[in-house]
């Protein structure tokens, strides 16, 4: 099958590549761009490990073709740190609150939580749980992931983070 030339912006930089129409966006990101922070978990649109941010939307990149992303603006987990290289509030939250064990789901969680906090900067706990319901973690049981997002939300909004009682 003839390859198509695609261009898009990934983490602020213009990138390009040759893809078959059937090349999934996640494969383009991992293999052509060599950005392996975006993970492949289930490949069936359930786990959310492959979540990236496209034009202001959280998208499971295993269920979209790279040709469809022509011209779009994408953020992956590699683009989540602050401009000066320090950890963003969300990354710091995952570290401080032990929001990961093996870390496999973490890139998808952070990218999804990034969009959630853009749309709803001070989500309630149920809103956080609904907001990350497209992301599966096999290790932590979500409690610390929720805390990590609460930590980031508090920091971004300049309010004091209070760890919920167990």
């Amino acid at each position: 099958m003839a390859k198509t030339h695609v261009t898009m912006k990934v983490n602020g930089a213009e990138v390009e590549g040759l893809v078959e129409p059937r090349t999934l966006l996640v494969h383009f990101i991992r293999e052509n761009l060599q950005m392996t922070g975006t993970h492949i978990g289930c490949e069936t649109t359930h786990c959310g490990a492959c979540t990236v941010d496209i034009d202001g939307m959280s998208v499971k990149s295993c269920t979209m073709f790279a040709v469809q992303a022509q011209g779009s603006d994408i953020i992956t987990v590699e683009g989540m740190a602050n401009a000066d290289g320090t950890l963003s509030a969300l990354q710091e939250g995952f570290r401080m609150m032990h929001g990961l064990q093996c870390g496999f789901c973490t890139p998808g969680m952070i990218v999804r939580a990034h969009r959630l906090l853009k749309e709803n900067p001070l989500p309630s706990e149920p809103e956080i749980r609904m907001g990350i319901s497209g992301n599966i973690c096999r290790c932590t049981g979500y409690q610390n992931i929720v805390k990590a997002i609460q930590y980031a939300s508090a920091k971004i909004n300049g309010v004091e983070f209070q760890e919920a009682a167990e």
Partner: protein, 286 residues
Amino acid sequence: MIPGSFSYHRPASVTDAVKLLVDLGEDARPLAGGHSLVPMMKLRLATPTHLIDLHGIAALKGISRDGNLVIGAMTTQHELLASDEVAKSMPILHEAALLIADPQVRYRGTIGGNVANGDPGNDMPALMMALGASYRLEGASGARDVLAADFYQGAYFTALEPGEILTSVSVPVPAAGHGYAYEKLKRKVGDYATAAAAVVLTMAGGKVATCTIGLTNVHETPLLAADAAKAVIGTSLDAATLKKAAAAASAIMSPAADARGPVEYRKHVGGIMVTRALQRAASVAK
């Protein structure tokens, strides 16, 4: 899991999309949000050789009001949730959209794809039947409107003819003060329904004046539970009536036995969804 090879097309108008569908024939498929089609392609349960991506067609986007609520086929579930017009005039649509899958899927999944897909597990079709909606289908010989109630003919088998695209969904706005509820039993957040029921009703003097009931995933097509609806009209939804309605609804169900449960269980909980939806719809009616 990589889909089979196909050629990718991105037309800019409905006319061009229809022309491509007609010219390329049977192995060409429209691609909307891709959140039913792409997983099927990865499993090689679908192997289209041409995909006609509808994302380049601006005319298929958006929600407008011309008496009815007219929703462009490429309007996403996320956009339905963000719409004030939907929240105000058709809150049941907001409620049901929120029960579809998860945020990532809702950013991509479209109303057109959801109703055109013909999967008995999709939530929008039964709701559209209960609301009396119709679908606009456009093909080489022009446009026609088909009632949602006449659209579904079997699992993945609909009134769409080869070369036709579903361009919009037109939904009559229910009466002010109507009651509504979409009750969906699922195994976990983001799952398809084990069984679900949509109820739209009006009340007058404490009694049900009008009522429609749609059922999701309890048959190879979505269903209108007409006898169950008839059973509640003129009543105040007392316990005996609710029991009669649930039984009438269960009687037309013939779900498949699958991971969501055996046939008897799914019919039983289907009846319970009808009961709950009726009660909640009556409680929000003004």
